[in-house]
Symmetry: C2
Subunit: 521 residues, 2 copies
């Protein structure tokens, strides 16, 4: 594998899984050429005139869709760790005796552990998509035959739209659907809220299969996925485990340090003048983010301020704000709990979005850049404000990127993070894996103080007299290192690239190397 150094000073391969790659060229520097992917023209002649596209089984659907060696099968991850479908899909594929498939999920979860045996049997050559849990460990240990390709939600849309990834067969798990293939995520026993992560698959795949455990008479509404893009519909007993579909990450933090970080973050937003009528914010589902939203809510009520929109991942906390009329809209990319699902189903001001509306960099604008302030996590940051979300200081690949990279384009990006975890400092000289260029990260809030990116002179000026503990990043770093007994130990890497991190424009931002001593194949 030939490596070159990209503009960010990171060694990246020029070819991955047989596809030529473009190294990262700087934020906003790479200019795409050419045209979008163009799916084949179909004709109604080939589809049942009454609109009933049901076939008897997953196996029959895969057969009719023309499954053969080397194909790419895609899926969405709105069921998170409650997905019961993709294991069944690959069992069916195994029965059909194909091999060398690429699985292109928007993310995989611990529930997908049974798929490891298909990686070992050669049914699946590699997984391209976020790897959480056992599949992440499997890839980290260098056992996967292909290289992991990590993309943001917007990057996945971009890759499919631009024809970088061609999907042969899309499998779309649908909590409710009709026999024509219209599908929604906002109702049914496996309700997950919305199906935005599967939308691009339905638009660009050669063949698309909707699988549901809750068939309703035509028309299924809202048609988050449109039957006009669907080839086959399959009914199965169960597609999801509702308890695991809603995320376990929507608990408020109980740590006093993190509560303090959340409060400081909200104070900063107020001091910087961002908290004004008609503003907008995005905060994720992590405990600190949720606590931030609650502090912000109190400040909004106090000041009589209403947001124009809040971007979700939605939780009961955001739903409360919508119902208390503290925001006109929730623009939601995924629902993290049952209250989010209920609100999306019932409240016309709780709007489902997709990576196209929110994040796709290769469109005519997107929502991310219109958000006044976004609050995100990170595993590491460095003195140049670069940040990492996919590995820890030990170098092991553990997380996906999600919408994190896409959100960096907000008007003010804040990372509220503890200054150390398990006695390992979080602020380092150079992040292990570069996921977000420092120029896009404006503020880091720790329990030891707030640090503002020197590029954001406006924020520095606005908060100068706020009384908030604003400090240089190097000062916080030195303090933490003293406390923890020095900077984190650096892992020893082999020269094997086990994964790459794509930037939002499809270029390669960094590589993930295999750590020495991790379990070899």
């Amino acid at each position: 594998m030939k490596l070159v150094e990209n503009t960010a000073g990171r060694p990246v391969p020029t070819e991955v899984n047989g596809t030529e790659q473009t190294p990262f060229q700087g934020v906003g520097e790479y200019r795409p050429t050419g045209n979008k992917a163009a799916p084949p023209v179909r004709t109604c002649t080939d589809y049942p005139p009454g609109g009933d596209k049901r076939v008897r089984s997953l196996k029959e659907a895969l057969q009719k869709a023309g499954l053969r060696d080397g194909m790419t099968i895609s899926s969405h991850h709105h069921f998170r760790d409650g997905d019961l479908l993709m294991v069944q899909v690959f069992e069916a594929a195994a029965e059909l005796g194909v091999k060398n498939l690429r699985w292109f999920p928007s993310a995989s979860f611990p529930c997908h552990e049974p798929i490891i045996k298909h990686l070992e049997s050669g049914l699946i050559t590699w997984i391209e998509g976020s790897l959480n849990g056992p599949l992440g460990e499997y890839a980290s240990s260098g056992k996967m035959n292909g290289t992991a390709v990590l993309r943001s939600h917007g990057g996945r849309w971009q890759a499919v739209q631009d024809g970088e990834v061609h999907i042969d067969i899309a499998v779309i798990a649908a909590p409710t659907a009709d026999s024509f293939g219209n599908a929604t995520g906002d109702r049914g026993p496996s309700a997950c809220g919305l199906l935005g992560f599967g939308l691009v698959d339905s638009l660009y795949a050669d063949k698309s299969i909707v699988v549901t455990d809750n068939l309703v008479p035509f028309p299924c509404l809202p048609w988050q996925i449109m039957g006009q893009n669907i080839d086959y519909v399959v009914e199965v007993d169960r597609i999801g485990n509702p308890e695991e579909i809603v995320s376990g990450t929507t608990e408020l933090t109980r740590s006093p340090d993190r509560q303090y970080i959340a409060e400081l973050t909200a104070e900063f937003v107020r001091a910087a003048g961002i908290l004004r009528d008609g503003f907008s914010f995005q905060a994720g589902a992590g405990g600190t983010s949720l606590a931030f939203a609650i502090y912000l809510k109190e400040m909004m009520k106090e000041a009589g301020i209403k947001a124009r929109f809040i971007r979700g991942g939605s939780t009961k906390y955001l739903v409360e704000m919508l119902e208390e009329n503290l925001t006109d809209f929730i623009l939601d990319g995924q629902t993290f709990d049952l209250e989010g699902v209920r609100s999306m189903r019932e409240n016309p001001r709780h709007i489902d979005t997709s990576p196209f509306t929110s994040y796709n960099w290769h469109g005519k604008g997107n929502f991310a850049s219109m958000v006044d302030v976004v609050v995100l996590g990170a595993t590491e940051v460095d003195v140049d404000f670069n940040a990492n979300v996919v590995t820890h200081s030990d170098g092991i690949l553990l997380h996906g990127i999600g919408g994190w990279q896409n959100c960096l384009f907000s008007k003010c990006t804040i990372l509220p993070i503890p200054s150390f975890r398990d006695r390992i400092p979080i602020i380092v000289d150079r992040v292990t894996t570069l996921c977000g260029p420092g120029e896009l990260i404006d503020v880091i809030v720790t329990e030891r103080g707030i640090t503002i990116n020197p590029l954001r002179k406006d924020l520095i000026k606005a908060t100068k007299d706020s009384g908030l503990p604003i400090r240089p990043i190097t000062e916080i770093k030195a303090e933490v290192e003293e406390l923890c007994g020095g900077p984190p130990a650096k892992p020893e890497f082999t020269d094997q690239v086990i994964g790459i991190v794509k930037w939002v424009d499809g270029t390669v931002l960094d590589s993930v190397f295999k750590v020495k001593g991790t379990n070899d194949a």
Copy 2:
């Protein structure tokens, strides 16, 4: 112009306006090859990060969009005869000094008469789209430099989607929009309900301009048109004349003959067993269709029957049925009156659709074929059940196709029409212009009786003992000819093709010839 005879026995040109044409090959016989049109990949780098895409004027928007000689400019016709925008657009284009444009509206109306001078000056070479009123007369008289191309609503989507028509610049009149380009038709001083006819333009045009007289803060919801597909936003004083936006065709017929036809049609639907719980129907906005819907409504109430969905063009009559819970949904392609607009805005069971969901033949199915019964008009029918909607027996091009061709794919297509108009018989030996092949037309209802297509043995059997006046078509024809003093006089045509009628699959179904003696250029 070289003509060949197509499968339907109609002479059609092999090339029109410089583009090669495929003659009609029979219903469901033509198989498309190749891939959909692929718009250029864009990048957010080129769009304002805050999302504000406003420019100061139409002229500036056209300039920035790169308007130059020979380009295609498209528009939608949801404002019908109340459109105040396209005249302004072509004034701006004239000021920019370009020439040889193609205007590709989904339809044009009498309000567009001022555009004739641009056809004469060479600014516009030809109009491709339905021509109503003065522009239709202008084309009929052979003065237009190009040939009119008549397409159904579904055919227009198919043509753009398949790359048959490339749109350089789409102009999208928007009753309400935000500065990012999200737009809706369901509110604002020029509210027209929905914007489905402009959707394909926004998806496939190189550049798209949203023009509004009602700018709202981001996000404009519902985003019937998505800002992610829009390049520029222009604010103008007025884009539409509300009184003319709502159609004048939503008055119930007062003619006793037509009321009788409407009643007979409803009786037939009941006798044929179509009127059952969960059924669906579509009826247009003409007086007879509306009367049919009212008769049907009474029968439904009497029998305790509820429809699953009604397809609009919506009117106050359909809205009443929705509000009286006689249907679960209205699936609406255009709103014909203010009650339709209000209902779409307020009622979550009044759903906006587009030619993609409803009519596009080159998709993975569409809604038209799932409708149990559709009631349509016609200017002429013949003894083989072929029908005409674009010309009358005098051969003059007067009407567009609308969704008429697309609707023929319903499970039962009924044409309730008077047997003569102005003493001219409607049933002829051979329709002047073929718009709908007889095999798709199941029933014709006149004030002199009902005739069933011999192909529909099931309908003949079901209604055999109904007591309804079911008669052979030739018998009704003979009776009417006796009454009117013989069959209609045949017009004398020149050999100049002034327009072609496309079938839903993009093939050429028939030609419209210039009538001898019509005003020459």
